[in-house]
């Protein structure tokens, strides 16, 4: 992990309120692993005060660049959504534990909800680049077709790919977890990686538990330091029966789904 600066070289709107940002920063591009994030200071000033965490969506080693997929939901993301190419940002990274990629060729199922697709695009890429490439199935859910951001980047890295939208405007009508249900029933899945809203993750975790498929999820939590010092970003986990808190920025953002105390996550579940 290092503190460095990155220059925004390109900004592209890919959906309503969604932006694809390309930054040049060779050390991040080299070091980042799928699932890790950068902790980015959106302003030199105090408004907003804290840095913002974003998962790396992919890297381009030859250009020394990486991309972030940003959903503009509040002050910080809106600043990024309006940033001009050439702007330079302070960032900390790469932060956190990546998805634990399999050593051999496994059948891996990726479940993405909304902007949660970002780290899974990076995962898919690395799974295919392995000496023994995996068989990658991608499931992607969003509200409507418009919100299937970067689906092309995702689907082209998958061997199989399916989408679900809540209004049926693309793919199956319904939730991405409905697709998952069918896929797990069909069998053959060695492991699942998921990223998306917490309600989705909880359901993914439940299904994988039921079908006894190992599953890892990337979770979000409000962060201050991003380095493990403030203990602000914890989630409740279970370890040998006893509950304790683990830091999303240090022990996460990727956790084994079985490790998370999904019931105690309820405040976040409510929020969805």
């Amino acid at each position: 992990m290092l503190t460095t600066q990155a220059e925004l070289t390109r900004r592209e709107q890919v959906a309503p309120e969604h932006y694809l940002l390309t930054f040049v920063c060779p050390p991040i591009a080299e070091q980042a692993q799928p699932g890790q994030f950068v902790h980015l200071r959106v302003t030199k000033g105090l408004e907003p005060l804290l840095r913002r965490p974003f998962s790396v969506m992919n890297v381009n080693l030859s250009q020394g660049s990486f991309q972030l997929l940003i959903q503009a939901v509040g002050q910080g993301t809106q600043i990024l959504a309006q940033a001009q190419a050439g702007a330079v940002f302070d960032l900390l990274g790469p932060v956190g534990q990546p998805f634990p990629l399999p050593d051999g060729a496994e059948q891996v199922l990726l479940v993405a909800g909304g902007v949660g697709v970002a780290p899974l695009i990076f995962v898919a890429e690395r799974l295919k680049e392995q000496p023994a490439p995996c068989y990658v199935q991608g499931l992607f859910g969003a509200q409507t077709e418009d919100y299937l951001c970067c689906w092309l980047e995702f689907s082209t890295r998958c061997d199989e790919f399916a989408t679900a939208t809540e209004d049926g405007s693309a793919g199956e009508k319904g939730l991405v977890t409905d697709l998952l249900d069918k896929q797990l029933d069909r069998g053959g899945v060695d492991r699942v990686y998921a990223c998306g809203p917490v309600a989705m993750l909880a359901e993914v975790a439940r299904q994988c538990q039921e079908q006894q498929v190992p599953c890892w999820v990337s979770v979000e939590q409000r962060m201050a330091c991003g380095v493990g010092a403030c203990l602000g970003c914890v989630i409740p986990t279970r370890c040998e029966g006893s509950q304790h808190y683990q830091r999303v920025c240090r022990e996460g953002p990727v956790f084994a789904a079985a490790q998370i105390d999904w019931e105690a996550m309820s405040p976040e579940l409510d929020r969805c």
Binding site: M1, L2, T3, R41, L46, E47, P48, L49, L50, R51, D90, L92, Q221, R222, M223, A224, C225, G226, V227, G228, A229, C230, L231, G232, C233, V234, I235, P236, Q243, H244, Y245, R250, A264, P267, E268, D270, R271
Partner: protein
């Protein structure tokens, strides 16, 4: 130049990013006797030029601190100030007693001002008699330099400061966080699981400078000033208000090297203004008063 308790973990988290040896010292995250899990999430919330936190003393407890955290901390070769917290007078005394013969630490910081735990903490820090009694009891069992960390959530901070000094405190640090809260208006409920939290960051600096000023007029022991320091100019406000040392807290989160930049800025100020030592400026704004 210190880094404030709870904002620099136990040092190791920042070791990769910051040349810790340049710091004047590290105040550790609060250490309690037994391990503590801390409060449920959400624990932090951002506010204008500040943040709320309700961590709730999550820490591995004294034993793990001594066995695992302290050896790592020692490697950085900076003074270590251990922030100690308890729910009862007896807990504080036991903590202090057990840390007394630990040579590796430079001082104890009595955290009698944390707003985020149900028992203990705050209740001591808001009553002068309890403060004096508690500090006095701890004083009995330790030869370490004893620093008392004051709460800003009081009507008369000078009275508490005087009580801490009467109890035998060698120095005071102030301020801890202001009790605040935020409401999640979509969820129609408190934003933090703990309902209230501690407000820190630049937003509280004017309150912190004022209290430093008041306490400097009330007592004669050194003051460690903190609350919203992000730049050398901010630090100078505390020093000129009467602080002998300053600590950077929330700003560490914003910029891991914040404390080092403040040091650089202070050196630059001293050079530019022909000040031999930064402590020559301690209380400078008092004498300047007409």
């Amino acid at each position: 130049m210190l880094v404030a308790s709870g904002t620099f973990g136990f040092g190791e988290e920042y070791a990769e990013l910051v040349d810790i040896s340049r710091l004047g010292g590290i105040c550790t995250k609060a250490v309690t006797l037994a391990p503590r899990a801390g409060n449920p999430q959400p624990r932090i919330w951002e506010t204008p030029a500040g943040m709320l936190n309700a961590i709730g003393w999550q820490n591995p407890g004294l034993e793990v601190f001594l066995e695992e955290k302290l050896p790592t901390l020692r490697q950085y070769e900076v003074p270590i100030i251990v922030n100690v917290a308890g729910e009862t007078r007896a807990e504080y005394v036991e903590l202090a007693a057990r840390l007394d013969n630990v040579a590796a630490i430079s001082a104890l910081e009595l955290n009698i001002s944390c707003p985020n735990v149900e028992h203990g903490g705050l209740q001591f820090g808001v009553a002068p008699d309890l403060t004096e009694d508690l500090v006095g009891a701890v004083r009995q069992v330790t030869d370490h330099v004893l620093i008392t960390k004051l709460s800003p959530n009081v009507t008369d901070v000078s009275a508490i400061a005087q009580a801490a000094v009467a109890g035998g405190s060698d120095a005071l640090s102030l301020i801890n966080t202001l009790v605040g809260m935020a409401i999640d208006v979509e969820g129609r409920r408190p934003a933090l699981a703990n309902i209230t939290g501690g407000l820190s960051g630049p937003a509280i600096r004017p309150v912190a400078v004022r209290m430093t000023w008041q306490v400097a007029e009330a007592v004669d022991v050194p003051i460690i000033g903190m609350g919203g320091i992000t730049t050398a100019e901010d630090a100078l406000q505390f020093i000129m208000a009467g602080a002998s040392a300053v600590a950077v807290g929330t700003a560490n989160f914003v910029e891991p090297t914040a404390a080092l930049s403040v040091i650089d800025g202070l050196i630059e100020y001293c050079r530019h203004h022909n000040v031999a030592r930064i402590t020559d400026l301690t209380g400078a704004a008092h004498s300047g008063r007409q």
